[in-house]
Amino acid sequence: MLRTEEMLLNVGPQHPSTHGVFRLVLKIDGEIIKEAKPVIGYLHRGTEKLAENLQYTQIIPYTDRLDYLAAMTNNYVLCHAVETMMDLKIPERAEYLRVIAMELGRVASHLVWWGTYLLDIGAVSPFLYAFREREMIINMLNELSGARLTFNYMRVGGVKWDAPEGWIEKVGEFIPYMREQLKGYHDLVTGNEIFMNRVKGVGRYTKEDALNYSLSGANLRCTGVKWDLRKDEPYSIYDRFDFDVPVQEGGDAWARYHVRLGELEESLKILEQAVEQFPKEGEILAKVPKIIKAPKGEAYVRIESPRGEIGCYIASDGKKEPYRLKFRRPSFYNLQILPKLLEGENIANLIAILGAIDIVLGEVDG
């Protein structure tokens, strides 16, 4: 037997496929990974600590920078927590605007995932197709909120801006267009033999593992657990819409791929209904005091972000700033299973596994 030596390989923080400043220290034997150690924190900004010195409305822009691919859900989770504490009633029109904005964000976020995942696997074109559609969504959200990514759109008690003239119709037109494009995505990628070989059976884990590691979102639903907070603990007005929760049994990257593409279709369904039911007129902001003070006490709310369960915990001592604020950031929790999945895999699979988890570093590092 030849004597072989293990090699230490640093992947990241400036590696093209770690989706940001994520770093992995790998012990490899040839191309086989013996041990993987994730190193995070390069993008840590101390959002939770900063929030302790900020008024509630001032915290909202910070939440934009957590999961910057779907900032609307982050906006919402904070507002929702404060509203729960204050026991506010949100105007109808504001709720619809929020749901439309959040679902558009979910579609945009899954599109980015689809494109970049294929880019990781080595196909360049899908990335550009996905970004064409995403650009339309971002333009729509730009018209709504005045920003392309860091929206700062929602407020405690409603939303900041009303939909501009003709905006709802624009969203309505986008839905059939997006459905058409989704068919094209399936034609181009889903049936591709090379792609199937790359993802089938890769990064497989069981239902028990997924639950033990506290995975959520597509990472949990790919193992057959039908758990979606929009359905199981309806918040906002999600109980008014008729949609399915896509579930797969495989537990591998292929199953996660199908769950996410299925979710795209379900989001379009929700959007379609929301656009149809959208109230003609009404308030967009509830009657709230100029300076928002959450009553003494604590609250934890959780909602379904594109990446999983995002939660917000607020402890308040009745002042205009929170005493303590904590976000349960799904990317961070989902990432924990990575070292276990990587053992014994090769470097090409590392990329396929990491990509399938779908992390956003802004969220992992907080």
């Binding site: 390989l9 093209p16 080595g122 196909a123 550009l128 064409r132 591709n192 070989n197 790359r198 090409a348």
Partner: protein, 337 residues
């Protein structure tokens, strides 16, 4: 003309003529590479809903590649401190020189060929294999782990795909009865294009040649999303350009070889179209092959290293071997009637 010169006494004049001809070929190839890169970027742009280069040199970006090469020339020449200096400098040259050497044997038309070697096909395959040494050397000399992995992958890939490539052309050789590229084209004039007689060989050859060219879906040695840039991760400026140049010259060479072996070289598809010069036919067929290669690159994701090996040894090689058997059988049967 070239034949006569080869037979004559060596002298300054002969040397001068050869030198001049070689320079002309070099310029033609460099011109091709310049516009092949532009064409690839334009076609990719078209397929990916982008514009492609459209600023430098008019609205088609005709001077974009020239500007890129100038920029690469002007860049600082960096060599990592811990790199193996002589090998690091030598590697791009080793990768690059064979790419030009193989061009000599390719018959662009029935008159335009620089070296009419009896075993032209064998020469091509033997010389083109040398480039791998440059790639592995570059990967090793960089003293970078990603480069090393890329170099190793390149070596493994070349070995696995060189063999099916050679096996697939044996069918063509059996039909043509010669290793000489001119004779192979001439044989296609009599028997019809070999793509019709050897469809299996053509398929195997196409797949293996994409692997040889290190292009998607077989671009593992430089897999951008895995190994950052693979074997040339530490190279920059003109040394990097040499690797790239080698890659595109091979694209030229491989497309030419495909044209010669399977698409009838410079011959017109029908006899009544014979009034159009051979060079035009060659250029046309050659462009189709290039377009096809770009198309593949845009469409497919990348294979995994182990799948690549499996596919090479367990699928392509047996198919190529079966094709040899089949070809021999068909040839014998044809003799009977």
């Amino acid at each position: 003309m070239v034949e006569g010169l080869l037979q004559s006494q060596p002298g300054l004049l002969n040397f001068g003529i050869f030198f001049l001809l070689a320079t002309v070929l070099l310029l033609v190839v460099l011109g091709f590479v310049t516009y092949a890169i532009l064409a690839e970027r334009k076609v990719m742009g078209f397929m990916q809903l982008r514009q492609g280069p459209n600023q430098v040199g008019g609205r088609w970006g005709l001077l974009q590649t020239v500007a890129d090469v100038l920029k690469l020339l002007l860049k600082e020449d960096t060599i990592p401190k811990l790199a193996d200096r002589p090998l690091f400098i030598l590697a791009p040259v080793i990768a690059f020189a064979p790419a030009f050497m193989v061009l000599a044997t390719i018959p662009l038309t029935d008159h335009l060929q620089f070296a009419d070697i009896g075993v032209g096909l064998l020469y091509y395959i033997a010389i083109s294999g040398l480039t791998t040494i440059g790639v592995v050397t570059g990967g090793w000399a960089s003293n970078n782990k990603y480069a090393l992995l890329g170099g190793m992958r390149a070596a493994a890939q070349m070995i696995s795909y060189e063999i099916p490539l050679v096996m697939s052309v044996i069918g063509v050789i059996l039909f043509a009865g010669s290793l000489n590229l001119n004779d192979i084209v001439a044989a296609q004039g009599e028997q019809g294009w070999f793509i019709l007689w050897q469809p299996i060989a053509f398929l195997v050859f196409m797949i293996a040649s994409v692997a040889e060219l290190n292009r998607t879906p077989f671009d593992l040695p430089e897999a951008e999303s895995e190994l950052v840039a693979g074997f040339h991760v530490e190279y920059s400026g003109f040394r990097w350009a040499f690797f790239m140049l080698a890659e595109y010259v091979y694209l030229f060479a491989m497309a030419s070889l495909t044209t010669v072996l399977f698409l009838g070289g410079w011959l017109p598809p029908f006899d009544f179209l014979g009034f159009i010069p051979g060079a035009v036919w060659f250029a046309l067929k050659f462009s189709v092959v290039i377009f096809f290669l770009v198309w593949i690159r845009v469409t497919f994701p990348r294979l995994r290293a182990d799948q690549l090996m499996e596919f090479g040894w367990k699928v392509l090689l047996p198919v190529a071997l079966a094709n040899i058997f089949l070809t021999a059988l068909v040839k014998e049967l044809l003799k009977l009637f």
